[in-house]
């Protein structure tokens, strides 16, 4: 399955991480709306240049963890006190210390799997999903700055193009995703 955002994207390719970092900074200073930036490896300082704020995924993680805690603890409580009570080593049915390792494990499991699934969903990734690429060399040695030009006036588009030209892009192209 190919995931299509149905967008016209104008993009420029740069051959160096320092060039794209300064291009992104300039674009934000000029109030140009960046669609996205694609690089073959994580570029140090890019989060700040793109103006990202802290992700809230850990807040989701806390909630998932809490669900895991409750699932494990309440689940074991139900099983060992009313559903199928068994005496283990002379301990009471409701043996809290024995529940803690399982509770801990399920907390971690729920939090980690929940966060991975959330992250994949937000990023539109997953098994069998193909994301269209703008250019093959983005995964090799080129750094890409992309603008969304769907339903954008020609004036605006010319502005984006002029910016890419002046900021040092060595190749400029447009593609429908």
């Amino acid at each position: 399955m190919t995931r299509s955002p149905n967008k016209d994207v104008l993009f420029g390719l740069y051959d160096d991480e320092t060039k794209i970092l300064s291009a992104v900074t300039q674009a934000r200073a000029a109030h140009l709306d960046i669609y996205d930036v694609f690089t073959p490896f994580p570029v140090h300082g890019m989060e700040d240049a793109m103006g990202f704020t802290e992700s809230r995924i850990h807040q989701a993680g806390f909630v998932y963890g809490l669900i895991g805690t409750l699932t494990a603890f309440l689940g074991m409580t139900w099983v060992f006190t009313s559903d199928w009570p068994i005496i283990f080593g002379g301990k009471p049915y409701w043996s809290v210390p024995a529940f803690i390792p399982v509770t801990f494990e399920l907390t971690v499991l729920f939090a980690s799997i929940g966060m991975v699934v959330t992250f994949y969903t937000i990023c539109g990734m997953g098994p069998g999903i193909l994301n269209p690429t703008l250019h093959d060399r983005i995964t090799d040695d080129k750094f890409c700055l992309a603008f969304d030009v769907t339903d954008v006036s020609d004036d605006e588009k010319a502005k984006f193009k002029a910016f890419l030209e002046t900021s040092g892009a060595e190749e400029i192209d447009q593609k429908h995703l």
Partner: protein, 442 residues
């Protein structure tokens, strides 16, 4: 300000608390509901172990960071160097306990009484390790060795300030420090366990736990981090350490948080295995504490796990001076209380048994009687005001010594190869200079 000045006002303040500590210690010799002056001796042992441990762990922190090629902490490493030098007063503090053991002035350790050992097959079996000779030389040689490394590390670090030439001399000071650190780590790893068994675990002479050294070592680590946080907040407030920003505080907070969870993991692992196996001679340790020290037993978990866990969970909280100060005070006191609970019940039982024996009771019967319900006693069931005074006295002594050491060298290690890294340390998404929204009121 790169040079610390130990002001007369601070000296007077700290000396005042030290005198209070000594007064409380002397008073606890006379005000004691239990026999054998055990309140005095256990208080002395408790605080000596606690602060010597903080010093040892500070050297461990420095050695571990140096070996890991860490650079974020470089701006504040002088504080840990000063802490680690407290190992020398630590050795001196142990000398009265050692002399007292040879002179039979105290009954802190059941195994130090030759009559008890002769009549007791378990103590006899352990006497190869639990005996006054081992205790004496173990303490002096092991802590002495730690101090040697702390001293060498400090010496090289200060020498680097004066004649380190960076690339020109191939950073030889730092390379040498790295070698000392790498040698120190395994030595500390094994010997810290040995002294913890001798000093703390053996107060319950019949009992043992293979996890004990990890558990009390984690307790020391958190205490050392808490003292560091308080020290940094105080010194920054006085205008020192401008280069230590919210980002560094954030990382100290992460350590406090992480080791708090590690401590809880150790505490629970020790508890659960003993609870599950339910072997009488192991379970007695927790049975006794649950029966007679219940508020401390559960209070320990609340102060040292539940509260710091939720206080330190959020990123932003680890960057707020007030919140961090509260978390540090809470955990410092909490782990002092943790050591209190490790040491007090055992020493009290030993004293009660020894007193019963002296009164003519049969050893085994006395031991039997000792494990039953013991009544409330200030300084044992709960720390009394005297214990708090002694704690503050020791803390003041520790801080006094640390300030003395800080005065002797520049606060910023100007030729350290990692200085640049510590200056630009940042925790994303917060800015490098640390002047976030929360810095406005400082």
């Amino acid at each position: 300000m790169n040079q610390f000045t130990f002001e007369a006002k601070q000296k007077t303040f700290l000396l005042g608390f030290m005198i209070l500590g000594v007064l409380c210690l002397v008073l606890s010799y006379f005000v004691d509901s239990e026999p054998m002056h055990v309140r005095f001796w256990s208080n002395y042992l408790h605080n000596t172990v606690f602060f010597t441990g903080i010093a040892g762990i500070s050297m461990f922190i420095l050695a571990a960071f140096t070996t890991a090629w860490a650079g974020w902490h470089t701006g504040m490493k002088r504080v840990w160097e000063a802490f680690s030098l407290f190992l020398l007063p630590g050795i001196l503090l142990f000398i009265p306990i050692i002399i007292g053991m040879w002179g039979h002035w105290h009954h802190l350790y059941h195994w130090a009484d030759p009559h008890a050992v002769a009549a007791d097959p378990i103590l006899k079996g352990k006497s190869g390790f639990l005996n006054p000779v081992w205790y004496t030389f173990g303490t002096l040689i092991i802590v002495g060795t730690w101090y040697y490394f702390a001293f060498k590390n400090r010496q090289l670090s200060v020498a680097e300030d004066a004649d380190g030439q960076g690339v020109a001399d191939n950073y030889w000071h730092h390379r040498k420090m790295r070698i000392y650190a790498a040698i120190f780590l395994p030595i500390f790893g094994f010997t810290s366990a040995a002294v913890i068994w001798q000093w703390v675990m053996s107060v319950d002479a019949h009992w043992y736990s293979t996890l004990f050294a990890w558990y009390s070592g984690a307790s020391w680590f958190i205490s050392a981090m808490a003292v560091t946080i308080l020290m940094m907040i105080y010194l920054k407030g006085r205008g020192y350490f401008e280069n230590v920003t919210d980002n560094h505080l954030h990382d100290l907070g992460k350590f406090l948080f992480a080791i708090t969870i590690f401590w809880t993991y150790m505490w629970f692992s020790q508890y659960m295995l003993i609870w599950y196996a339910n072997v009488g001679e192991e379970t007695i340790y927790f049975r006794h504490r649950l029966d007679n020290y219940r508020p401390l037993f559960f209070g320990n978990l609340i102060i040292n796990f539940v509260l710091p866990f939720f206080i330190l969970l959020r990123n932003d909280n680890k960057r707020k001076y007030g919140t961090m100060a509260i978390a540090a005070i809470l955990t410092l006191f909490g782990h002092w209380l943790d050591f209190f609970l490790m040491i007090k019940p055992g020493t009290r039982l030993t004293a009660l048994e020894a007193a019963a024996e002296h009164a003519g009771g049969h050893g085994a019967e006395a031991a039997e009687a000792g494990h039953k319900f013991v009544s409330f006693a200030a300084g044992f069931t709960m720390p009394g005001l005297l214990e708090l005074g002694i704690f503050l006295g020791f803390l003041a002594g520790f801080v006094y010594f640390v300030f003395k050491q800080l005065e002797k060298a520049a606060l910023v290690p100007s030729n350290d190869p990692y200085l640049d890294e510590t200056m630009h340390h940042s925790v994303w998404p917060y800015p490098e200079d640390g002047h976030g929204a929360h810095d406005a009121h400082h």
